[in-house]
């Protein structure tokens, strides 16, 4: 029995003008599956058909040809939305509502009981960290706050499948990290997440499998770790080596005919630096950190 949450077969979408003349083919014969419980990434440059594919999955656009099922139902079947959560690329929410009202409104669309709506709203507002701003209208929110409340509305129904369009767009590194943590938490809860993003590092961090689209065609599909694995290289990590130790190791490697060995200290990425700075600034306000201090505290991704 298939464990696929999403099944797409030969999906095509052609945008036409008023007279029915073909303008552009956004998606060309796309076929792929998304399995239950995985985090799936849709990648590609602008205009590659990611958002069109997602909108077709949600029933916002009708495919020109091909078939697709979501949670075993047709994409045009409104009842499938009962188990889906969707975070659009921009958070298209009602700016005159506050966070509580927003979640209450979307909860009502799922016919949730008043008690459930209140409980779920409290949980989600707490989860996305908007407890202090829950009574403010969304028009007063920053972009990051708007993304968070957008995410909360996507999760109001505790969905089985979450579709996230550019989930980290507009978020600061802290928010980005929290969003990635959240995606991983959703995965841990057994939910299926489909996301499309330009932030390749983010995709790499959270996705189990990815599909790369280019000009509407599927170019790459597979597991991230398999796709990124460099089979002709080996990486070894130790505590800091002395010059003598380096020479000895180099000799051993030459004995096995390996000549291009490199010995360097690993570097933390900018995200880790940023997160560590923010954290330590909170602990020791008013203090500035020197480059040496930062380098000395670098533990390579343990920020």
């Amino acid at each position: 029995m298939s464990n696929a949450v999403i099944e797409i077969r030969n999906l095509s979408k052609i945008y036409r003008d008023f007279w029915g003349r073909k303008k552009v083919q956004a998606v060309k014969s796309l076929s792929m599956d998304v399995q239950k419980g995985e985090v799936f990434g849709l990648l590609g440059p602008n205009g590659s058909g990611k958002t069109t594919t997602m909108k077709m999955l949600l029933g916002l656009l009708f495919p020109t040809s091909g078939e697709m099922t979501i949670l075993g139902k047709s994409a045009s079947d409104v009842s499938k939305n009962e188990k889906i959560g969707y975070l659009p690329e921009e958070s298209y929410l009602y700016r005159f509502l506050n966070a509580d009202e927003t979640l209450d409104f979307y909860g009502r669309l799922f016919n949730m009981s008043a008690a459930d709506r209140i409980r779920r709203s409290d949980e989600l507002i707490e989860m996305v960290g908007l407890g202090k701003a829950r009574r403010r209208q969304l028009k007063e929110y920053s972009k990051g706050m708007t993304r968070r409340i957008g995410l909360a509305q996507a999760l109001i129904n505790d969905p089985e499948l979450v579709l996230l369009d550019e989930p980290t767009s507009g978020l600061d590194p802290l928010g980005t990290r929290e969003m990635k943590d959240l995606i991983l938490r959703l995965k841990a809860q057994g939910k299926t997440v489909v996301m499309c993003s330009h932030q390749l590092a983010d995709v790499q961090d959270v996705c189990d499998r990815i599909a790369v689209l280019f000009q509407g065609e599927l170019k790459v599909l597979g597991r991230v770790d398999e796709l990124l694995e460099m089979r002709n290289e080996t990486q070894m990590r130790t505590s800091s080596l002395s010059k003598e130790a380096e020479e000895d190791i180099r000799k051993v490697l030459e004995k096995h005919n390996i000549k291009n060995a490199q010995f360097t200290s690993p570097r933390a990425d900018l995200e880790e630096l940023f997160l560590r700075t923010v954290r330590e600034s909170g602990e020791r306000p008013g203090r500035r950190f020197s480059a040496e201090e930062i380098a000395a505290s670098g533990k390579g991704g343990n920020a």
Partner: protein, 591 residues
Amino acid sequence: MDFDIRPYNLSSAATSWMMLVGILTLISVGLSFVLSLARNGGSGVAIFTRGLGSYLGDLFSLSLGRIYALTKLTLLEAIRRKALLVFVVFAVLLMFAGWFLTDTNSRPELQVSIHVTFLLTAIAWLILPAVIFLSCWALPEDIRIRSLHTVVTKPARRLEIVIGRMAGMGIVACLVLVVMGVIGAVWIYRKLPENSRSQLTCRVPVFGQLYFFDVDGQPAATGINVGDTWMYRSHIAGNSRARAVWMFRDVNESSIVRETIGTGDEAKTVEGVKLECRFEAFRTVKGSEKSVLQGVQAQYTLSSNPREEAFGMLSQGEALRPVADALRDGQFRNGSERLKELATRVRSNPDELRPADYLGLQNGLAVAGVVLKELKLPALLPVQEKFEAASNSGIALIRVLQINNTTGATDKPPYAEFAESLETLAGGILENADVLHESLPKLEVPLPAFHISEYHEGAAENITVVPRKLRFAADYETLARFLSGIFEKWSEEGKLVEGNAISSGLVDSLQKDASVSPLNAELLVTVLNEQLTAGTLKISDGKLAVVDGRRWFAFFDDLIRKELLISQDTDGWLIEKDLLTDLVSNGFYAS
């Protein structure tokens, strides 16, 4: 062109609406099917069926909860986006409107009209932008800023979204209307002088059935056509016997209104029936400027006249008119004579009358039979049966006349039988003349005449409140009925006689208990004493009675016709009648 005065019929309107929606739905479905075929060829049928199924599925799985969510969203949107600022504009308008609207020189009824018109116009013009803004903000804005994406990706049906948004806008518009209406009503109520406030009460129209009397005083279906195309607007000739008659069949306690007339100490509450009319004058002469400005004099007469109803239809045709006129006038003996003459004509020279005359006569007889039957008076039963018999005989005659006319046959029409039935009827009328006269009373109450403008603007002037207690100068017939009513009762009670003479306290009783003026009370007692002396009246068993056994009505009728009871007051015999109990009992006419 005709004017339909029937009240609004909700069920018929709902049926029409459903039919219209049904037709539009069928057209839309048909058009969609054709388009689907045109776009998709053979597979269009399947696509169309799927679409239709999906729509029907949506229709039957509508969720009130989701509709409510969208309705509430629209309400919040209206409040948060300040659509309700119209209230501020409204308040400002009301604050300063008084400066421009109050004109102490204007008549109170015009003040009401000006204030109400201002308020309704202000509300209409303020609701309009509110609704326009709301409709622009709702779905189009949802689509533009794509907030609709977050809604349609929830289990919300398209139909629910549309219904929810429409319901929200409807509620906002109603809310604005109600709030403005209530505030406006309070504002008007406080603004208007006390004596004009009663005009704010909504009037429920009771439409009368309209018919006419022509210049000869004969019943007519319409008045004079002066070139105006509206059928209900026919005119009556001035300074003639022409009348317009409105017949009201459903006047009862609920028709009585209470109006305060006058201001301050002079204010008094009048209980009565409100008559509202709009008159228009059409002149065939130029007239002077003064006469035009003065307007036209009009007069209402309240009338209850079952004789008119019963015998009016007999007036169709010159030959039958003498009979009808006599019966309508209550001269039943004379009417019987005229009917006999007619029967003789029918028997001896039937071709003098045209077939149309026979038709009119039969029709009149039938109507008389029906009206007498409706009165449900046992005393009238024998006469009513004779009218019916004559009518049936007339039907037999007309049938033969029609067959002869259409087929060219030469069957002998049963003129003799018809004439015989008319003679029988004439005999019946003669025999029951007194019963008919007493059972079919005519009561006419003339109301004070008033001037009306010749122009439409004067509509407000034509509202007349007829007091429930009517005090008026009685005509001969009414006086006879009034006096006979009193004397029959008092005779039974033994109030008329004291020993062997007429009671000395009768003059006082007439003044106190029957509101007869002192002069007329004395006249009446004097005449009664004269009649007692002359032997027309007698006293037996302590009661006053008419010698020849006639009823009091016939006795007083005779006295009045002999002009023995001419009023000693310049006001005439003033008597009081109750509009409901005295006038309405047999139908109510205002002419």
